[in-house]
């Protein structure tokens, strides 16, 4: 599904050099690393919001040269429109698609949604993320966790085949974070979406990832890749496998 081949990318200093990696359809990857290691840059490259200076990023066989309509992105800072209600925010991606029509660049070519169908789909995702009662209020009136639910609903309403999450739960308190982690894993399993979640938290990387990539100091050439015998439920958090994985990740970071 995702293939990076010899990607080179630098701001002032190189972040990735001849960096190759791939992820298969439906895999849930977590990318772990300290701040400044380039993990957010990796996500922007996958999202098509930054382009590699050499090498290529391919998703579903296509070289990524611009944001792809079927790639969803969720950021730590939610990125909600402050002047739009929760419902309008969830509908935003669908409205943008209707704005352009199914041109294959901004919206998938087979995309066609009547206003009625948009409303139904928005209602579905509002309910699925548990924010239907908040549909008519503004983002500043709701908690961080509810804002992130809104951002996730907005992204999943576009039915992405790749979902990119950048520190999505870092700003949330522990109980909110753990319930959203579980919900996200559930939703991803339901939709068979390929997931790349970037985090600086060892616990989150170990809990969320079927596979884990560890990045350290840039420039990154060859990432450390780990398989995680993970089960997406609350019990896994107390299992010896989980604790062992946390220990391995801690060592990999040093």
């Amino acid at each position: 599904m995702i293939v990076l081949r010899e990607v080179r990318f630098a701001y002032e200093t190189p972040v990735f050099e001849f960096f190759s990696w791939q992820a298969a359809t439906g895999e849930v990857w977590t990318v772990l690393g300290p701040s400044g290691c380039g993990k957010s840059t990796l996500l922007l490259l996958l999202a098509g919001l930054r382009l590699p200076q050499s090498g290529e990023v391919r998703i579903a066989g296509q070289v990524v040269t611009r944001p792809r309509p079927r790639t969803g992105l969720v950021l730590q800072e939610y990125g909600l429109l402050p002047w739009a209600t929760v419902r309008e925010n969830v509908a935003l991606g669908l409205r943008i698609r209707r704005f352009y029509g199914p041109d294959g660049r901004h919206a998938p070519r087979e995309f066609s949604l009547e206003p009625q169908a948009v409303a139904e789909r928005v209602d579905y995702w509002l309910a699925r993320l548990g924010i239907a009662p908040l549909a008519e209020v503004y983002p500043q009136q709701i908690s961080g966790g509810q804002r992130q639910r809104t951002a996730i609903a907005r992204t999943l309403a576009l039915e992405p085949d790749v979902l990119l999450l950048d520190e999505p739960f870092s700003a949330l308190d522990a109980p909110t974070r753990e319930s959203l982690q579980l919900l996200t894993l559930d939703l991803c399993a339901e939709t068979a979406v390929t997931v790349v979640l970037v985090t600086h938290s060892i616990e989150e990387a170990a809990f969320m990832g079927q596979k884990i990539m560890v990045l350290t100091d840039p420039p990154n050439r060859r990432p450390v890749l780990l398989e995680n015998a993970h089960t997406p439920d609350a019990a896994y958090r107390r299992s010896p496998e989980y604790l062992a994985m946390c220990r391995r990740l801690r060592e990999a970071l040093q």
Binding site: P69, W83, G93, I96, H106, A107, Y138, Q141
Partner: protein, 254 residues
């Protein structure tokens, strides 16, 4: 950001304050007891009698001049502000010019504008437009530049290209700034209108006030003109204020 959103009074206290001011005027008129300060009741009676006739025509001319200036200034300044707010390179070029021109009191340019543009409506509209132009330009530029980069990234990731960013982010983000700029400059605009209407015109409230007071010595009519001009300013201020609060419902929601 908006003082309109955080105002601490309601319609009733506003009505009481207006009555108190009228009472103060009436008391002062009794104390002074000279033709140059008629009582408010005399003036309001004249206003009531004259408004359907001559005074009404002057009012409409002045109203047209202010509204045309606001429209022209918005059409010229808002797109430019949006462009400067989006491009830091262009903004760096334009900023020193704006910095130099913004604080110049445009009202001193009235004689020059009249010399170049002669009699008629155009010079009056141009003068007021010049004042509003910079206010709107600066506020819209800052509003567009203040849009958080995470918001732009996440909306782009939903498939938005340049056109959709304008439609769904830049326009709604800067519309309140236009209203704020217009509201803040209405007082100045009406003051400058008065000065502009002293020259080379036979219509407008400025002309009316001047002729009644200094040529015909009809003080009640002069005061009726002053009240009409105040009502023009107040009416515009209230309209824009109401529009602003309607557009910015999300700011006052809690």
């Amino acid at each position: 950001m908006s003082d309109a959103a955080s105002r601490r009074f309601n319609a009733r206290s506003l009505a009481w304050s207006a009555l108190a001011l009228l009472g103060g005027w009436a008391a002062l008129a009794i104390l002074v007891h000279r033709p140059i300060l008629p009582s408010p009741w005399t003036v309001l009676a004249v206003l009531w009698r004259e408004l359907p006739g001559e005074l009404g025509r002057h009012f409409l001319v002045s109203f047209y001049r202010v509204v045309a200036s606001i429209a022209l200034a918005t059409v010229l300044a808002a797109p430019l502000g949006l462009i400067l707010g989006q491009s830091s390179r262009l903004d760096r070029l334009a900023a020193p010019f704006i910095y130099l021109l913004y604080p110049i009191p445009k009202v001193v340019l009235v004689p020059i504008v009249l010399l170049f543009l002669g009699v008629g409506e155009l010079p009056k509209i141009v003068i007021i437009t010049m004042i509003l132009f910079f206010q709107i330009l600066v506020l819209v530029r800052d509003a567009a530049a203040g849009i958080r980069p995470e918001l732009l990234l996440s909306v782009r990731s939903l498939g938005a290209g340049r056109r959709a960013l304008w439609r769904f982010v830049y326009l709604p983000a800067t519309f309140p700034a236009i209203l704020t700029a217009v509201r803040q400059s209405i007082g100045t605009a009406v003051a400058v209108l008065y000065i502009a209407e002293l020259f080379a015109t036979r219509y407008g409230l400025g002309y009316y006030i001047y002729v009644q007071g200094n040529t015909l010595f009809d003080y009640p009519r002069m005061y009726a003109g002053i009240v009409a001009m105040s009502l023009l300013g107040l009416g515009l201020y209230f309209s824009v204020d109401a529009a602003e609060r309607h557009v910015c419902r999300w700011r006052s929601a809690d």
